[in-house]
Chain length 467, copies 2
């Protein structure tokens, strides 16, 4: 056997490891190239990356290495990667990049990505960047930026293919083959009248299956789903989700076609929305990110804890009322947190279901009463169950028979009230236009704590004839 | 002015009202048609609906009207609507439909939709339905059903277009124009070798922009993202999200192309996943739906409340230890729930952020230590803040100066421990392979309650020389 030594090409480093994390060896090579200021090596490693991977690389790098990566890559840095990183990281990074380079970088992007990057800049920087763009790009970006935050207009692409209905399939395909400046990606073409009003859409697969002489008007879908540019992005997301869309036309107030929303942006909206609700229920602001500073996090979490402190003090006042009873029968102090705790947890269960059903629009006027009845019935059933369990525990633990009745009655009361509060509080907040995910928690906890302490200590005071 | 009476066509009823809910007038007409057994009217109203709208209609109807709608519509009932309704409603409805009709109905569907409907049937019914299908459909469905639950194989479409690399664009377009049996919707075509291994993909827009004589191999994307049929659907969702895909090839263990996943299914997976985490954190099972019965809901919520009862009893035992101190100084009973409550809320904040970061894979081995340090630092900062606030409140309220020091020290302790528990508990559960969203809550609450009561009552006992 002959052993031949090959001049092997340097083995390409995989960007991600088995688990989908950034490969530590790859990361180390990048950090080294940055430390050495070796632009050539860095370019070889980072320039071919997909924008999502480049974004993940930026997030994985040390704080100080991020702006140096951008500087070293120069014009090879793909600004689309900035749409893939945490907000805090993007904002920090943009501050370190000269406005002229930002202008250079966003020129290459689709309008929706460029807007995503520019919208977080302060007004002065934004104006300076826009000024350095050629008029057509500047006008397109400015128009998108003029739409309200979180509106469909901010997330739409302004490049799309629109053809008149009397064209044939052949003409349309030839037009696409000969036009240089087509959008990067598209899944359907739009059919418009001379006033640019949308009259139909043709999915690309249908265009490909149809013979050249057929007219566009004969194969277009006439019933379309439309998004208005001023619509909230969540409304657009519901439409995509409901009708399984991959792209959707965006129109202005005169119903003229102005852009197209793509499903990949919608996927981000859906994830963001669920994320915000989840964090809000846990008492954390929706925009909190792992990359936030300690001080920012402290200030962001403080208000929720403070609201809960106020509710806890309200509940403590109820206990204060019954100090005499507790002094006479100190076991009440041992058991009272149990009553309040189960009440709080049951209230949270109902509240969670209600908040989610409101967000997904499953809870509607038509089924509200049915759901309220169901929740109260569930509360009463679990109330009876836990009254028996906890009543037995109390009797066995402290050997006082009547204590079982007292705590059982208190549990039944608090679980019924918890169910009612858990659904009525978010419903009411929602009707008042307040986000129920953010605000329901303290109200529900106050209700269950106050009712829990009051029911247990009050019933005990009466039953045992305490002062 | 002349008043002309027109013979107006009956105005088409809008299916949805302004808010996007099912239009009550439309619903009333449908209910009436069902009550009258008027199949013709019903068909006129319901048959033209999009599957999503038909699903919404079914959900809005009274319980008994649902199977009657399906029966009256007969072969005009679009079974795809069943993929758009709550699980509980689908299961009930399927029980009321004869297996022969189910077989008839699912034949018309894409494989992924058919699987979605069949997978919930019990084994006997499933076998009976499959038996009544023609062999090609049966084999395709059976193969998908053989993949594990929640795997990509269950959610893939098995119809796709695959061409050899040496074909030209023209040949490919002609093939699509002449083939009858193409998939309903597709966004890219796959390029395979003779062994059906995937060697590239061509997005439809690129096919349309390219001139007829160009070879497919010259325009295909060679670096593809692949999903294995046995992969969990959440893994597939991360891939779609990361790389902004609209469809993605699914391969078997021999890397042969077996299907394609579409982004609309992925959107559902992402929503479902966030939904499950959100509900789990609120102590509700992920599959709980508004349409569930009272008794099912009671049984589904009981275990969580029971787990919390156990943790509350553990915490009560701590209070039990200090009964003597409370009897001597009953104000401790008034203040102790405040300490436990703030600790619980702070622990929940950290836990929420941790659980979410684990789900979205933002929390990785590489940044775990940094995040633990950050959380503890946040806990200490908020601890100092609330120690001062609550200490002042206690002194002002009860006029005992030393009580301020005692409660302040207790608050600082519990908030530091809450931060540590809030991140270490979900991390540990995750390493042990337990879903942290479902199980962290009771552990975190027990920790904060026990530490809260112990710190406050313990420090008070020592400081004031009680019992």
């Amino acid at each position: 056997m002959v052993n031949v030594e090959h001049e092997t090409a340097p083995e390409a480093l995989a960007f991600r490891d088995e688990e989908g994390n950034v490969n530590p060896t790859f990361l180390a090579s990048v950090s080294e190239a940055i430390a050495d200021g070796n632009a050539e090596n860095l370019r070889r490693l980072a320039a071919p990356l997909h924008e999502a991977d480049l974004g993940a690389l930026i997030e994985a790098l040390d704080y100080d290495d991020r702006p140096r990566l951008v500087a070293l890559l120069g014009s090879d840095f793909d600004f689309a990667a900035l749409t893939e990183v945490d907000d805090a990281i993007r904002e920090e990074l943009l501050e370190s990049i000269p406005n002229a380079n930002i202008a250079e970088g966003v020129r290459e992007l689709d309008v929706d990505d460029a807007v995503y990057i520019l919208e977080d800049l302060d007004e002065a920087d934004k104006a300076e960047v826009l000024e350095q763009l050629p008029p057509p790009e500047r006008v397109a970006l400015q128009r998108s930026l003029d739409y309200p935050e979180d509106s469909a207009g901010r997330r739409m692409q302004t490049e799309f293919i629109a053809v008149p209905p009397f064209w044939t399939v052949g003409q349309t395909i030839d037009y696409m083959r000969e036009t240089e400046d087509l959008p990067d990606t598209f899944y359907e073409i739009f059919v418009v009248d001379p006033a640019y009003q949308l009259i139909g859409t043709v999915p690309l697969d249908r265009l490909l299956r149809t013979k050249r002489p057929v007219k566009i008007s004969d194969i277009m879908n006439e019933d379309q789903h439309l998004i208005e540019a001023t619509d909230d992005q969540e409304k657009a997301a519901r439409l995509f989700q409901r009708y399984n869309l991959v792209s959707c036309a965006v129109v202005d107030e005169a119903k003229r076609l102005v852009g197209v929303m793509m499903v990949d942006d919608i996927v981000d909206v859906i994830e963001e929305e669920a994320d915000e609700d989840l964090k809000a229920l846990g008492g954390v602001k929706g925009d909190e990110e792992l990359s936030d500073t300690i001080w920012y996090t402290v200030r962001s979490r403080f208000p929720w804890l403070f609201a809960n402190l106020v509710t806890a003090i309200v509940a403590a006042n109820v206990i204060h009322l019954f100090e005499g009873s507790i002094q006479q029968m100190v076991v009440l102090a041992v058991l009272m947190p149990i009553v309040a705790s189960i009440g709080g947890n049951a209230g949270t269960q109902t509240m969670t279901v209600t908040v989610r059903a409101l967000a997904t629009q499953e809870l509607r006027r038509s089924n509200t009463w049915r759901i309220i009845r169901r929740e109260v019935a569930v509360g009463i059933c679990n109330g009876v169950g836990f009254a028996i369990i906890l009543g037995t525990v109390a009797v066995v633990w402290f050997g006082i028979r009547d204590l079982g009745f007292v705590i059982g009655l208190a549990i039944l009361t608090v679980l019924s009230v918890a169910a009612l509060g858990g659904i009525l509080i978010p419903l009411t907040l929602n009707r008042l236009g307040v986000d129920p995910a953010v605000s329901s928690g303290p109200f529900v906890t106050t209700t269950t704590d106050v009712i829990g302490f009051f029911a247990f200590l009050g019933i005990a005071t009466l039953w045992f004839g305490l002062s």
